[in-house]
Symmetry: D2
Subunit: 331 residues, 4 copies
């Protein structure tokens, strides 16, 4: 697969490394709004810099990985679909439902392999959790508890443009909930606070939030988010069912244990998503390439982005109205 | 302290053993609706059987431990208060708020040491958690996650008279939440399902529930309950704050680890409350005796019973109305 | 069982509490070289002080628990045997083999129930380990690793009279090795150092030691001892076999985990034998009483004391001679 | 660095992947006794097959990685040194001391960067352990316990040519002991058994062994080896000192925990060295390249191979003679 990378920022670099390590993918070109960034990254991985227009016009390019800034995602996705290129798009497609639906409409008219960057679905531990549930290890799944905390809050100016905690941060957890519950979400309820950084509250957002989901068959799910965990990236999932419980735990650099006067001490969790999900990014590329080759759906697709966004929107409405929001499955 | 025990059933026996082991307490008498039960227990611990009337009339008796059936609690509590005896009463005082308030009224007119059997406050691990929070180990507390699961569901006929999951089971977790959050609860939201045993649903109750609490300052709390965890009694609390996280974990019989072809295996959690909270029952007696001697309030009192019941009632209303219920702090 | 306690020191007090809590045992009398100590302890547990002579002469007394100073053990054991009383004797019977053999001779002429205080055999975790091995959980046992560390070294003056590390401290581990290996020890090899406290070396002893045992069938065992672990009492055993591994781990006060900037921190191990083996002391009394009633051998008897002492003596000889000592099974 | 790989077998493939992933190294050529193996591996990593003679004659090649069969190591190492090429040589240089000393003599006459493949020194967890000891985390190191078990025994025919357990398997642990103790080993004592596979015993080797080391200052060290752990590769080190203990624990694929009726179950350890030390092989290449660039000694060198072999030889002699062997530091 000849793959062009659009976006040479932090996440673009992660993808470039993952592409480079994959034996079946060639990094055909790198584009970035900031040309020198594209050039530097291209040079590092024996590729070339190119403009976005050049990439979409190049018939030799099989696929694009969209890792540019959020407001450009939907347009690039549509252009890629029209150009018949396979797409791996960083989430979100867009911050509003209408724009996302438009993009999905284009995709339905120009069907190409389209994967969405819900990286956590590719994390080995969460994959193993999903597999164990599917195989019936815990019998019938009854409840789900998702803890997800970032190491430090974003600057207030970022918050303003991020779409808010539900769309920017919890959307990953909402996707995990959908993926693991594996049946229609019936209702959502949300509470939130701004107790870490008042500036976040002043910007109209929150830094701490909890959401409760229910499904059609009566499964219950709790999500807990915080923008700041001083000990690092806290990413855990607990699935409980009729035959037992599965707990995906945090990863740390080593399993070295020190025992001294202060107690037994082990490493704190890995610092942030680049560390925790390093392997997930590689597996994501692998799934994308395999889906393209095998003409099958990737593990996470554009529709999953739309569904997670619907949940995030409903969470915000619940927060505002102080009540449970029923989700119309027919939407 | 000369202490009379009212109720010689399962929980009465636990208390008898704890009383017997306490160097400063004498088991002065045992009463039970079923006279032979009182006699058997009295004999085992070198005490004597007596009627409830005899106990309340006996000026030699300093205190009563009310471990009889729930519907009798309020009446015995009031009689004990009027007789000037110190009281350790199993929770709940009553299943409805009005009856509970009446009993508290009697207590306010006849002030005696009155402890309520919220056994978990005495669990060494939860005590250590509370102490660590109070000492600032995690800085400002921001969120609380309480997981509480019984090993197996009660028979449906019990469910009918239990007051329902919120009043019968979650009330312990609501008390823990109040105790650890340590500030007024502002709102409560609840969802519930009957997915374990349909008979429980038909009896008008549920077997799986989740509740979300918020406090005046913006702290958030989640509680997750299940009536059946096949692996035993699942009792965990996670407190998260600005400087870190505290996790109270399950206890098990041993820490023996087996590693074989199937993985690394450790004991499952202790089976139920008698096993998990064995030590808590002893410490509860200790606190009660100390409070009586030192003329101070015990760790949990009648007012705590009232407050937890108010939360349980509000949870039920939230469930019914599908919305967040605001709690009037002035109530 | 009417049981008299000889010795009201630290370990005597532990036994008094265990006796008091046992429903089938009455603490008939307490003796101590220091009369006020006996009186204080007797009063605390509703018993009476008596002289050793009175105890041996009292036909009402069924059993004695010998918890006096080591040099008196053998004599009291013989007197008790001659008086037909059941015996629970703190280890060691004596610090030399000849004296120990004499005592065993008296026991063989006056057969009474005689238990030796190898408390670790009663520890729930080690019991579970033993049971799992016996039940074949790890198939054929092949190697054993015993780690045993005290929290702090004894004063040098104690060391001089203790019989040395092998007889005073490692003797417990040698007994555990015998018990778990469950077949004749064929050879022993020892090394030792005085690297914690030079005064211990000057007193002719060591503070750090390692021993290797082999059995007739080719099982191998390592023991590692240290007189000072700053984090507390370190008592672990690892049994490895054809079908897996069993690891008995340290116990701690709680399982509370703190996660902060410095990592994930749990309680250190319990401080010393009184804390770690509190439950073992109770179970030891229970086994003693049951053995007496059922006229069966207790879990650890006088012969076990002799065998462990033989190993300790051989370890010392190995250390001196720098070679493996073969143990004559016919001795 | 232009690096040629000699040996395209199992371990050669691991190195090829590590070389390929390193940004500063080019895989210049691949040689193998079996030409098609060299060609296949060369093609996979965009390199070319070559003969050993061509490699040593090629002035463009900076370095060789010797991963051919053990009997060829010493000769290739000498040829590489004479050709002025940097060397990363799989352990051992040779199975006997005399041949090893000859090779070191050639190295001393032709000084080139020469690293020896003691892969464990590069394992992140053992590196962190070493670093913590060096930084004084546990104060003065006093004892070391090394557990090292393979998942399954080699075929008896391999055993015959392997040099025996001490030279083939325990040599890694002897190197770890030297590295961590960081002072002259004064004595060694060994015991061994053939209790897993009688064929191994008949071939004159053993499958289970324990070794005790002492150092000049009185530090003590135990090593326990088994050729078969049914649960996988068991690689643990415990370092104990005046201020605490450090434990390097096994790695597993995930940290997913299942709790069910049978207990709490986590993944077993990774299966074997390719899985456990995958990262170590990459870091080994990194250290080799950095040492070559910076003209510094690599983390493990030829002299370390000699020293570990001396210990393995002494262990064998101890086993034969049933006594502690003193090591002459001046050798």
């Amino acid at each position: 697969m000849k793959l062009a990378l659009i976006g040479a920022g932090r996440i673009g670099k992660v993808h470039a490394q993952a592409i480079y390590s994959h034996p079946d993918v060639t990094l055909a070109a790198v584009a970035d709004f900031h040309q020198p960034a594209a050039e530097a990254l291209a040079e590092q991985y024996a590729s070339r810099a190119a403009s976005v227009d050049e990439i979409f016009a190049d018939n030799d390019i099989d696929a694009v990985l969209i890792a540019s800034s959020t407001p450009t995602h939907a347009e690039y996705l549509e252009r890629a679909a029209r150009a018949g290129k396979a797409i791996l798009c960083e989430k979100p497609i867009a911050l509003d439902l209408a724009r996302t639906r438009d993009a999905l409409q284009v995709l339905s008219e120009h069907p190409v392999t389209c994967a969405l960057g819900f990286n956590r679905r590719h994390d080995p531990q969460f994959s193993a959790l999903k597999k164990a549930i599917t195989e019936g290890r815990i019998g019938a799944l009854e409840t789900l508890t998702i803890i997800s905390r970032d190491p430090s809050p974003p600057p207030a100016e970022y918050v303003a443009e991020s779409g808010g905690l539900f769309r920017d941060m919890m959307i990953h957890d909402l996707d995990m909930a959908r993926w693991l519950l594996d049946e229609p979400i019936e209702s959502i309820f949300a509470v939130g606070s701004s107790i870490i950084d008042p500036a976040i509250g002043e910007a109209g957002d929150m830094d701490t939030a909890m959401v409760t989901l229910t499904t059609a068959s009566g499964k219950l799910c709790q999500i807990s988010n915080s923008r700041r965990a001083c000990y690092g990236y806290d990413q855990r999932i607990e699935a409980f069912g009729s035959l037992g419980m599965l707990q995906a735990q945090n990863e740390s650099d080593t399993r070295l244990r020190f025992t001294g006067e202060a107690g037994q001490v082990e490493d704190k969790p890995k610092w942030f998503f680049l560390e925790r999900y390093a392997q997930a990014y590689q597996l994501e590329i692998g799934d994308f390439v395999a889906a393209w080759k095998e003409k099958r759906a990737p593990l996470a697709g554009a529709q999953d982005g739309l569904e997670a966004l619907r949940l995030a929107d409903a969470a915000e409405r619940s927060l505002r109205e102080g009540r449970k929001i029923l989700l119309d499955a027919s939407l």
